[in-house]
Subunit: 242 residues, 2 copies
Amino acid sequence: MAPIADIDATRLKDIGAFEGSLAQRVYLSLKEAILSLEFPPGSVLRKGMICDTLGVSRSPVSEAIARLAAEGLVEVIPQSATRVSHFSMSEIREGTFLREALELATVAKVARDRTEEQLAQLTRNVRLQSLLVEDGDFTGFYQADEEFHAMLMQFTGYTRLITVARMVSLQVSRARMLLLPTPGRAAETLEEHRAIVEAIRDQDPVAAQTAMRHHLGQLLPRIEPLEQERPELFSPCDARKR
Amino acid sequence: MAPIADIDATRLKDIGAFEGSLAQRVYLSLKEAILSLEFPPGSVLRKGMICDTLGVSRSPVSEAIARLAAEGLVEVIPQSATRVSHFSMSEIREGTFLREALELATVAKVARDRTEEQLAQLTRNVRLQSLLVEDGDFTGFYQADEEFHAMLMQFTGYTRLITVARMVSLQVSRARMLLLPTPGRAAETLEEHRAIVEAIRDQDPVAAQTAMRHHLGQLLPRIEPLEQERPELFSPCDARKR
DNA sequence: ATGTGTCAACTAACATGTTAGTATGAATGG
DNA sequence: CCATTCATACTAACATGTTAGTTGACACAT
C-alpha cells in the first residue's frame, strides 16, 4: 500500500562513465536516471544514499541537485526532501511551445543561410534514417532523429541554441520515453524530415517553418493521452496524506 | 599599468535586501552587481572576499557562483579563479536571436488568444509609457518597457517563459546598460509598442510578429558599435599573458 | 474514535577543514 | 639579458562537521 512515495534505487550509472568534475559527473548520472525514468516521478532522492552509492561526498551531490532543481527535474522541499518532479501536462505544453519557437527560428535561418555542404549533411542524415526505418532499428532512428534536429541548430552557428532547446524541452523528452516507437510513426517522421530538408534545399524559410511546425505538432497529441493512461506519473492527481 | 585584471570591490548589496535561502540571496546580490556592470567584465571574483563581505560561508557562495557560471555570467577557471565574463558580440547576437524567437512566438499566441482584459492592460501600460516619455523619465520608461514584454509573456499562460527569455538574453541586458536612453529613442520605442498592441487588438498574429520583429531589430544595431567604442569590455581583443 | 500537542529522527542548509591543481616569482643556467 | 626550472602561495574543488527546520509518530485529552 505504499508505492506512493518510494525510495530511489541504487542503480545509478557509475560516475567513472562520465568526464568532468565530480559534480558534473554526479549531475549527469542523476540526470540520466531521471530522464530514463529509472527514477520514477515522485521518488525521493536521498543525499546520503547517493553519496554512498557513488562514493563521493555531499558537496558535489548538492551542486548536482541544485542544477537539476534549476532545470525543474527535481523539486526540493526546503529542509525536508527532494524528489523527482512529476509530469505536468501544462509544463509539457509549455515545453513544446518553447521548443517550437526555437525550432521555427532555427529552420528559417538555416533555410536562408545554408551552404551546400550543410544541405548534403542533412540529406545524408535523412538517407540514414531511411535505412534505419527499413531495418526496423528504432533506437538508431531515435538517435538519428535527435541528430537531425541538433544538426539544424548547429548550422545556425549559435552554440548555446542546442543547450537551451534541450533544457526547455527536458520534460517533453522525459515524457517521450513512455512512447514506444511504431513502424508507422517512424515512417511518417521520416517523411516530415524529408519535407523540411526539401524546403531548406529550396531555401524557402516559410515552407521550412510550415513543415517544421507540422512535424513538431505530431508529438503533443501523442503525449496527451498519457495523462489518462498513467495518472500516477502526473502531479495534481493526489490529495493523499495529511 | 594593471587595470587589466583587477579585483572586485566590496560594494555588493547586502543580502538582507533579498529573500530566500542564503545561496539564493548571494546569487541575487552577485547577479545584480554583474548586470549593473558594478563588477566589470574581466574582474576576478574571490570567494574568500565575498564570504567576508557578505558574512556567509563558502557553501552558499559556491552554489551561487555555480549558477552564475551555468548562465554564462562568470567564467570559472578550474582550480584557479573565476572572473566576470567579457562581452562577446557573438553571444549577444545569439541572445537576440533566441529572444526574438521567443518574443515572436509569444506575440503571435497573445494576438490569437488575448482577452479584452489583457488588451486593456497592455493599452494601459502603453499610455503609462506615453506619460513617462513626456516627463522625460527614462528610468521609469525602462521599467515600463520591461513590464510590457513581461506582460505579453505572462499572457501566454506559460510561467517559465519569462525566466527562459531573461536567461537567454542576459548578456544583451547587460550590454544594454551601456546604452544611455535618448528622448528620441524612447519616443520611437513607444511607437513600436503601439504598433504591437494595435496588431494584438486586431488579433492579427502576422502583423504582431512583424511589428515585434521590427521593434527587436532596433536593439542590435545600437549595441554593435560598442565593440569599437569599449573594446576593453569585449573578449577576444587580448593575447596578454603567458 | 478522533483531534491535538509534544517529541524524536531525519533532512537540507550552512560552516569549516582538507586536498590538489594552477599561477606567480625567484633562482639558476644558457 | 633571456629562457627554464622549481618552490611557494593561492585558488577552487572536495570532504566533513554542525545547525536548524520539517515531518511523522506517538501519547494524551476530548
